[in-house]
């Protein structure tokens, strides 16, 4: 086997391994894209950008570490940079009703209302607090959230507690 053929075999194996991991963790890509983009085309672009960045960074991935943590970091970094890009800034401020066409299918009215409130709340948050909320809703441990975001566990706990207070205040019957 020539060196070129050996390299090609290694590249094919790496690609297969990456696709397998991406398939298993694909929800991370879609959830992050869904949290940061309302427009379906932007969402698809963002999902593709996240997958592309993961593929580029994959050679440096340390298999001893959690793949999901690694992927969350990339996905959130790409998403936050994506929505902060000047070109997209205006396109993202879409009316909430447009979103409802996407989420209001095949579901009970009660859960639709919950989803609407969830989106309404997410839309009020800045990019970093959105990341924190997403990780909390994904049941990630405080340690993992701290690792992904790059802040201390105590800070994560404080911020989650503040988010809870904010939700209570926002969702109080007087405000809805």
């Amino acid at each position: 086997m020539t060196a070129q053929a050996a390299m090609a075999t290694i590249a094919t194996a790496a690609r297969a391994q990456f696709h397998d991991l991406l398939e298993r963790h694909r929800k991370i890509v879609f959830k992050v894209a869904n949290t940061y983009c309302r427009d379906p085309h932007d969402r698809a672009d963002l999902a593709q950008e996240i997958a592309a960045q993961c593929w580029r960074a994959f050679p440096g991935y340390d298999a001893q570490r959690s793949f999901s943590t690694w992927m969350y970091r990339i996905a959130l970094n790409v998403a936050i940079s994506f929505v902060r890009g000047a070109v997209h800034r205006d396109k993202h401020s879409v009316a909430l009703d447009e979103e409802l066409h996407d989420v209001a299918t095949d579901s009970a009215p009660e859960s639709d209302e919950r989803v609407r409130e969830l989106y309404r709340f997410i839309d009020q948050l800045d990019a970093l607090n959105r990341a924190l909320l997403l990780l909390y809703l994904e049941d990630r441990s405080y340690r993992e959230m701290a690792d992904i975001l790059g802040i201390s566990e105590t800070n994560v706990a404080t911020k989650i507690s503040r988010l809870k207070q904010r939700i209570r205040a926002d969702m109080a019957p007087d405000n809805s």
Binding site: A52, W55, E117, L118
Partner: protein, 215 residues
């Protein structure tokens, strides 16, 4: 609704997302990942071109300064071109350095700080490299006329220099006035209206990260 109720809504979304996006991953197969180009990659190549352009200006600026070292107004034009070339290379190099420091696998807060710093330097470079063009084109045109046709416009056509200079000043003032007016209208980040909007937005990003980092 409490944060834990939101988890129920999130789980509802989770099920729907899985159905909606079951087929979407096909686009990531068949080699399409390699072809995808990120915005940072495009910015990287744009900066390489910028540095090459700056290098060319430095080269022509030096050559011209040597050739016209005894003619003060032509020497001034050459030094202006040289200084602009240096500024172009410096901003291009700093931006490339910032791009190189962005590794998306690092923690979010750290990387977003770097991205914010990149936006700030990019906004500053756009301003510092954009405004001088109101005058730089005159210097380049004068030096080109001297080099290619042997005509010194300062001597043969001083009216042209005066009119171009006056147009440059008017354009410079009008651009500055427009930027100020646009900033004053911007309500998104209302502080510090003398700073261009792109710079204030970059500053706003960095402040948001700082706030998030604090307990």
């Amino acid at each position: 609704m409490e944060l834990d109720d939101m988890k129920l809504a999130w789980q509802t979304l989770d099920r729907r997302l899985d159905l909606q996006n079951a087929l979407n991953l096909h686009q990531f197969r068949e080699g399409k990942l390699d072809k995808a180009r990120s915005k940072l990659r495009r910015l990287y190549w744009a900066k390489i071109v910028q540095i090459l352009f700056g290098d060319a200006l430095i080269y022509f600026g030096i050559m011209s300064a040597i050739r016209h070292r005894d003619v003060p107004h032509l020497l001034a034009c050459s030094l202006f071109m040289l200084a602009y070339g240096l500024l172009t290379v410096i901003f291009g190099g700093v931006t490339l350095g910032k791009i190189a420091s962005i590794d998306y696998t690092a923690p979010v807060v750290e990387i977003q700080k770097r991205v914010g710093a990149l936006h700030r330097i990019y906004a500053l470079a756009s301003l510092c490299l954009g405004l001088p063009w109101w005058f730089l084109w005159i210097a380049i045109f004068v030096l080109e006329m001297r080099a290619n046709l042997g005509v010194d416009l300062f001597i043969t056509l001083p009216t042209f220099i005066w009119i171009s200079g006056a147009t440059g000043i008017a354009g410079f003032v009008a651009t500055a006035w427009y930027l100020r007016r646009r900033n004053a209208r911007s309500v998104a980040i209302p502080d510090d209206t003398d700073t261009p909007r792109s710079l204030r937005e970059a500053k706003g990003e960095l402040e948001e990260i700082e706030r998030f980092e604090k307990m």
